[in-house]
């Protein structure tokens, strides 16, 4: 997830830079455009290469603005997608955890302990966080493992990872029970 956030931060910086360039270039384009128009009206310069070069440069500037705008839109679409994907993944993970905990009939305090285990706290830290004896936490985690039918922390993790990586879209509690 850190990687995702990093990516989105890079994109955001690129987007801001692009926006500044778009505006500055649009101002330049407008300046040259008005210059070309007034040259055209005055009729004096129509025989000079200078005028045509300026006209072409103006067109290219305008085309560049439009092109950069399309680029900016793409970047912003990617930022949005990444943000939504991260939010979705978080929500989905929470749903999966919820569903399994229900399925295993964990008591409320076992759910708390289970969650803290999944978040990477060791038994000692959990007992401190919950203000209970280390023995209690050990007993609770043993009960969680046995209810889940696993033998270790690592196996507990793999239950959830398997579910996420199975990738058959979202699974809800009903599917799990089936």
């Amino acid at each position: 997830m850190k990687n995702g956030l990093q990516l989105s931060r890079n994109d955001r910086r690129r987007a801001a830079t692009l926006a500044v360039i778009i505006l500055v270039q649009a101002l330049c384009a407008a300046f040259f455009f008005s210059d070309v128009v007034s040259d055209f009206k005055s009729d004096k310069y129509l025989s000079e290469v200078h005028f045509y070069m300026e006209a072409i440069a103006t067109l290219v500037l305008i085309a560049g603005v439009v092109f950069l705008m399309i680029e900016l839109r793409k970047i912003m679409a990617r930022v949005e997608q990444l943000d939504r994907g991260l939010r979705g993944a978080r929500g989905e993970m929470a749903e999966i955890i919820d569903a399994f905990f229900e399925e295993w009939d964990l008591t409320p305090s076992e759910k708390d302990v289970g969650l803290l285990i999944l978040k990477g706290f060791d038994n000692e830290a959990i007992s401190q966080l919950r203000g209970t004896a280390a023995g209690t936490v050990r007993a609770q985690s043993t009960r969680i493992y046995s209810k889940a039918g696993v033998e270790s922390r690592a196996q507990l993790f793999s239950v959830f990872l398997d579910e996420l990586l199975a990738g058959e879209g979202r699974q809800d509690g009903a599917d799990l029970k089936a």
Binding site: A19, L27, M76, A94, D112, L116
Partner: protein, 194 residues
């Protein structure tokens, strides 16, 4: 305390509200750029100074880019996300009175009308301002009157815009000013989004 911990960061952030990317940097730069140009021309430079014209042209280009962005831009920036429809605005007011707290990701239907109003006013100001500098309309009274009237209307509109934003922040709890600064709207929990 552990209850608060329940199901980790995803749920925690959902509990305190989620931030959704809405305004892209181009929209934000143009918004504050136009503010700057209006402040420069209204309060800082003299009316007949060349700087007044340059600030006016800059503002015109900013609005022009914004209008093009309304066609080809990001989703919340596109006209389609906030069509100028008085009936939708009326409907929105009715819903508001029934204390429906739906948050609109782009402009809300009432705010949308203000957006089109301000753009039109700015365009009128820029056009009449430009005309005053042309040989054909130089010193023509109705052009000058139109420029001044549009400017007065702009001041009224800006006041209404600020009041509207303040009202919406108070009502919906979405920090709109910050949204126009870093682009994300923070939506409080249990608030429907449209």
């Amino acid at each position: 305390m552990l209850r608060e911990h329940h199901l980790g960061s995803g749920r925690d952030s959902a509990r305190s509200g989620k931030t959704i990317q809405v305004w892209d940097p181009l929209v934000r730069l143009i918004h504050w750029g136009v503010v700057l140009m209006v402040v420069i021309n209204a309060a800082i430079v003299a009316k007949d100074s060349p700087l007044h014209l340059w600030a006016g042209y800059t503002m015109l280009v900013l609005v022009g880019v914004r209008l093009l962005w309304g066609v080809i831009g990001t989703r919340p920036a596109r006209f389609a996300a906030f069509p100028p429809n008085p009936f939708r605005a009326l409907d929105y007011v009715k819903k508001m009175r029934r204390s429906d707290k739906t948050v609109h990701l782009s402009h809300n239907p009432l705010g949308a009308l203000m957006v089109y109003n301000i753009w039109t006013t700015l365009l009128v100001i820029a056009t009449t301002g430009y005309m005053m500098g042309t040989i054909r309309f130089f010193g023509v009274v109705w052009v000058e009157r139109a420029h001044e009237l549009a400017y007065d209307w702009l001041l009224v509109s800006i006041a209404a815009h600020i009041l509207g934003v303040a009202f919406d922040i108070w009502r919906s709890g979405v920090p709109l000013v910050q949204a126009m600064i870093h682009g994300g709207k923070r939506i409080p929990n249990d608030t429907p989004v449209e």
